[in-house]
């Protein structure tokens, strides 16, 4: 029988809680610090602005585009290749000007700059300042509602203390994922928020499987086993499943990251990080937190 985790593996996870907490604590503090000081690179969904994606017949010189855009005087402009060197993404910061005029100005100036290099406009995304602010609000509430919903469900199905552990784990995952986005300066868009909510679901999925086993072992235990040993036993019993599921999910998300195309790239990136961290947190944070809380009580 092929096994990733050898049968009868007994890793004493709960003796390592201190290490888990120190590492996670440091990473979380660092993430929060970066988010607080550097902030996020909000995409146009939240910041407002215009994105125009164009595909040229032959690869255009980005500097030419840049100097043309500077002359237009339409605010801060970011120009980059997207997917291939034939494709260019132009992003303009938010403006009070008529969105349609902004888009048309950019398009016609490109026609003037590259008279011999035909292009097609593949995508135009424009978000006015008001809509951007609304979406930011909505996204924040969405994450909060998801957390509350989950807290209630776990509190009903398990003891309250487990619910706290689960929330700690989720918060940990969300903060670190967002922290990585802040550090790398990757754009936060609507799809990234969707990814974050998915991570919430996934991480919880993992955590619950472990909790479920702890609950079962607590019920079946007749030998007055220490709570620490019960948790360890449960973690080891579910370890093989935890690793397996993470692997298959990572395979799927990895395929998406590599082959899914430029549009979905950041989304897959967020999921990759989230799945990895979510797997760790169900052991290192959720269970460890439950253990720590009960230890204090006793």
């Amino acid at each position: 029988m092929f096994e990733l985790i050898k049968q009868g593996t007994k890793i004493d996870f709960m003796s390592m809680t201190r290490i888990f907490f120190i590492i996670s604590g440091l990473v979380v503090i660092f993430s929060v610090g970066t988010i607080a000081t550097k902030g996020f690179n909000f995409g146009i969904d939240f910041a407002g602005g215009t994105i125009i994606q164009m595909k040229f017949e032959s690869a255009p010189d980005l500097d030419d585009i840049r100097s043309t855009m500077d002359k237009l005087n339409i605010g801060e402009v970011v120009i980059q290749n997207f997917g291939s060197d034939h494709e260019v993404l132009i992003r303009v910061e938010k403006t009070e000007r008529d969105l349609n005029t902004v888009a048309n100005t950019i398009k016609s100036s490109m026609t003037d700059t590259f008279p011999d290099n035909k292009f097609i406009v593949e995508r135009v995304e424009q978000v006015g300042p008001q809509v951007g602010a609304d979406l930011k609000n909505k996204a924040t509430y969405a994450v909060i509602y998801a957390l509350i919903g989950v807290l209630i469900y776990v509190a009903i199905r398990f003891q309250f203390i487990f619910s706290l552990g689960a929330i700690m784990a989720i918060a940990h995952d969300v903060i670190i994922t967002l922290g990585i986005f802040s550090i790398t300066g990757k754009e936060i868009s609507l799809t990234i928020i969707a990814a974050v909510l998915t991570i919430v679901g996934y991480s919880l999925n993992d955590t619950i499987v472990v909790f479920d086993r702890i609950r079962e072992n607590m019920k079946e235990d007749k030998t007055e086993m220490k709570f620490k040993d019960i948790i360890n036993k449960s973690l080891n019993e579910t370890l093989s499943r935890t690793v397996l599921t993470s692997l298959t999910t990572l395979l799927a998300v990895g395929a998406l990251y590599v082959f899914g195309g430029a549009v979905i790239h950041s989304f897959a990136f967020a999921l990759l990080i989230g799945v990895a961290i979510g797997t760790y947190s169900s052991i290192g944070i959720a269970s460890a937190f439950v253990y720590m809380l009960t230890k204090k009580k006793a």
Binding site: F2, N104, T198, D212, T245, T248, G260, V263
Partner: protein
């Protein structure tokens, strides 16, 4: 459940799914990000609608006071939502007050004890009604215009207090669509005040009942104004496009340029005749959205009910102008607050890379399970395939929209759906280790894994529901495929795999389970 019955049920479900999904390209609705198209959110400037309403009330009041022979010096709109009336005597003051109290219930008295001065504000309830009506009417007008424009399966809905969402799948000329739906198209006729020169107009030195309008020349490609000529006109429009019944494109005989010829209804025609009779020798400015198109001299009384707009650059513009005039004007200007347009080629690229990623992900997982579970892998892979069919089947049946994040959702659920099987298989392995017979271990494994699977998946569904609530198009698509995927994987893990196991193992004296 009896094994035969179980298989029958599974067969029905799968056949139903296959039946719903084929032919796939007809039954599976693609989102705008995959098939190309535009999603535009228009914000209706409802303040302008209120302002127009107040303006109209002021005009009506002026007429009524004149008819009732009330001695007033002026009736004016003083802010966005209020009018001020100045009267020449206490007698007139009382009379005006009475008329307004009787006939203008929507006006709220906000006068500050000034000498023979009255101020009124449009009350909040009426203002709200005007705002609401403006949005509703905009929706209607935009719908009419889109209908004339000809797009298949457009979605036009109201969103919140003052927004209108327009979705046009597969639209090939987004710029034209935007200019069509965004144009206010308020047609107005003014009498030009030729006593004031253009220089005086530019300096702002004009009589109080006049205003300046411009004839703008814009750059064809950018739409930016490059030149403008001032016209001084009498402030009140003498006639509006409300009387318009038809508009058509034709070619002017003199210059061979496109013009839009429009016809007024009987009341409009009568008004037009009176106005022209009263203003022979003056110029009449034909104004669309505050832009003067032309200002011909009225040479004689014009009895007919037909006139035209010229000064149009292209045939295309003339056609679109005719469309918007026919479809009616927007009650208030609209602003584009959000625009997401995806060209068909990018949509196709997204579909291709999405399918590629899905297939590769699927292969990787299949191979992985094959290596890991050997015989049981057949079971797991059957489950995978069933899942895939179920997701597409359910989506087709219920008209759910597949978006790019939606494809990602399918890939993700495929990865996660293995989880249910893993949970069961791992459980069965454990039971086997504890010395149970294979059949027994299977029975226990399924039973014990069940509550775990439920708990674990319900939480993901909670996240998906929240996503659906808050998301816009593409994100909603993701939430939908994620939820359907989870439900499908629950079904396959609990129903299908068990049936497969039982069928393989039934009747055999199984000593060893390759799991």
């Amino acid at each position: 459940m009896n094994l035969k019955l179980r298989w029958a049920f599974i067969a029905v479900v799968i056949i139903w799914a296959l039946f719903s999904m084929f032919p796939l390209n007809q039954n599976l609705k693609l989102g705008l990000d995959l098939q190309g198209g535009m999603h535009v959110v228009l914000g209706v400037d409802t303040d302008k609608a209120v302002e127009a309403k107040v303006e109209a009330i002021a005009n009506q009041l002026r007429k009524e006071l004149a008819i009732e022979k009330v001695d007033f010096s002026y009736v004016q709109k003083i802010s966005n939502n209020s009018v001020s009336i100045s009267l020449k005597s206490t007698d007139a003051f009382e009379k005006a007050k009475g008329i307004i109290a009787d006939n203008y219930q929507s006006l709220q008295d906000i006068s500050i004890s000034g000498e023979n001065n009255l101020s009124y504000m449009l009350d909040k309830q009426s203002a709200d009604r005007v705002r609401d009506y403006a949005v509703e009417q905009s929706l209607e007008v935009v719908r009419n215009r889109i209908d004339e424009f000809g797009v298949s399966e457009p979605v036009i809905q109201r969103q919140g207090k003052k927004q209108v969402v327009v979705q046009l799948p597969g639209v090939t000329d987004p710029d034209r669509a935007i200019s069509l739906i965004g144009k206010t198209a308020q047609l107005k006729f003014y009498i030009v005040d030729d006593n004031v020169s253009a220089e005086e107009a530019e300096s702002g030195n004009i009589p109080f009942d006049d205003k300046v309008l411009y004839q703008k020349q814009s750059d064809d490609s950018t739409g930016q104004t490059i030149n403008r000529f001032p016209f001084v006109v009498k402030k009140d429009a003498v006639l509006t496009g409300d009387y318009l019944v038809d508009a058509e494109v034709s070619i002017s005989s003199t210059y061979n340029l496109p013009i839009v010829q429009f016809t007024l209804d009987a009341a409009g025609a009568k008004l037009f005749e009176e106005i022209t009779a009263d203003n022979i020798g003056n110029r009449m400015a034909i104004v669309l959205d505050d832009n003067v198109y032309s200002a011909p001299v009225i040479k004689s009384r014009i009895p007919g009910c037909s006139a035209y707009i010229d000064g149009i650059d292209s045939m295309q513009e003339a056609k679109d102008l005719a469309i918007v005039l026919r479809a009616g004007s927007l009650p208030a200007p609209v602003k584009i607050e959000e625009n997401r347009t995806v060209g068909p080629s990018l949509g196709q690229d997204s579909i291709n890379s999405g399918i590629k990623a899905a297939l590769i992900g699927l292969c990787l997982i299949v191979v992985f399970i094959l290596v890991y579970y050997r015989m049981a892998c057949i079971v797991a892979n059957v489950a995978l395939a069933t899942n895939f069919i179920l997701i597409l089947g359910v989506m087709s049946q219920f008209g759910a929209t597949l978006t790019l994040p939606g494809i990602a959702g399918i890939i993700l659920t495929i990865g996660m759906s293995v989880d249910a099987n893993v949970l069961i298989f791992e459980r069965v392995r454990e039971e086997l280790r504890m010395g149970r017979t294979p059949m027994n271990a299977l029975e226990y494994g399924y039973e014990k894994a069940f509550s775990t699977i439920m708990d674990a998946n319900i939480t993901t569904i909670i996240a998906a529901i929240v996503l659906f609530q808050f998301g816009t198009g593409p994100i909603k698509g993701f939430a939908v495929t994620l939820s359907i995927g989870i439900l499908a994987s629950l079904f396959t893990a609990i129903f299908v795999t068990k049936a497969v196991f039982w069928t393989i193992l039934r009747g055999k004296d199984v000593k060893k389970l390759s799991i």
